[in-house]
Symmetry: C2
Subunit: 222 residues, 2 copies
């Protein structure tokens, strides 16, 4: 049962962990930050999770008010973050900043989809954005489509194709990880691992400037 292994302490850290500290919970939240998702989207993005666990965790997120179940387009059920659930962004970002310090496992398990990208890169862009930047970019990472919308110093990253992108950038998950953690330089990343198609002239530079600044956040010393 969910209530048995709780800390039940006054400490706010323990209170947080009692909601989001269980195995898989933070990774589910991570994927939900890419936008509403179906059960099977989550299952495929969370490599290795058992279905009963995904069910349990989603239910706990709903009970705690971090997520809701809602109806999507063709009668499909979607899970989405609530406002409270969206507050986990900074926790996830700091976790990513910390986790980036460790070398990746030699044979990492591949996720079935790349929703995983959205939080980390989204928050990093949010912190790096300048008020002048304004564009809609489509990021194609290993064939999956993300939309990065920037305007008035506000950034949104969604796991969906863009409607009318100013720029389309194509790259790979591995290259993004390597670049953000300093394994390859930003120049090398851009030259060797990125293809850009510009629809609105100039917007390509805005995108690369923002991505460069965002990735620099992870290039932490020592």
């Amino acid at each position: 049962m969910a209530g048995s292994r709780r800390y039940r302490l006054l400490c706010p850290i323990a209170r947080a962990l009692d909601r989001i500290g269980d195995r898989w919970t933070l990774l589910i939240l991570r994927d939900l930050h890419a936008g509403p998702a179906r059960y099977s989207d989550l299952k495929s993005g969370l490599t290795g999770i058992a279905s009963n666990l995904l069910t349990d965790r989603l239910q706990q997120l709903i009970d705690d008010g971090l997520a809701i179940k809602c109806d999507g387009e063709h009668g499909v059920t979607l899970y989405a973050l609530t406002g409270l659930g969206a507050r986990t962004r900074d926790v996830l970002f700091e976790l990513a900043m910390f986790g980036g310090r460790f070398p990746p496992d030699e044979d990492p398990r591949r996720p079935g989809n790349l929703r995983t990208i959205a939080v980390t890169l989204g928050v990093a862009c949010q912190r790096a954005v300048t008020p002048e930047a304004r564009f809609e970019a489509e990021l194609k990472v290993d064939g999956e489509h993300f939309t990065l919308s920037v305007q008035n110093a506000s950034v949104e990253m969604r796991y969906a194709p863009a409607k009318s992108p100013d720029v389309v950038m194509t790259t790979s998950y591995e290259a993004m990880i390597a670049a953000s953690e300093g394994e390859i330089s930003l120049d090398r990343f851009q030259k060797d691992h990125v293809e850009i198609v510009t629809h609105t002239p100039g917007k390509e530079a805005e995108l690369m400037t923002l991505l460069g600044a965002a990735m620099t956040l992870f290039a932490n010393e020592s």
Copy 2:
């Protein structure tokens, strides 16, 4: 075994959780942020942890380079954070910011000591500090002594009595939690739940200004 239940994903969040995501690990780190601690300090601060788990977790922290075992004064063994381990501060702080949004359990378990306070309040003071502030304060919380040293916009919080405090402030853990989460106002906190003894005139105001600003960080909207 420690390696069996790891995510082994490329995602930096998952990589972080593979080191610090196990049950109790983040709370152990939390207590270590108050300064080097003995096995039994940790055991008593972490209400309810089993000894084998504490041993396992400490060993894992050492293996991952987040903590080290070292020798203290009277031949006692101490556990301390490494530089890498100290990098968990911001993760813990964001967890505290998030956890503070949930009402405390009705009958929370009491910790055997209050090392738990150090991270949260320490980071909050660090973020709220102004360059002019400079003092050494002793915080006596439920009879336990902390030292808050402030100089040159740098803040240190240790679980130890102060050598020559400019101010001594006495209060309770519950009142601090209540004030930092907006249950009682800062004024009421200061008037009803705090006793101050000033040794260096004026420093008392500096302390209360800093604490007020720090606690305001937690008073997040909605």
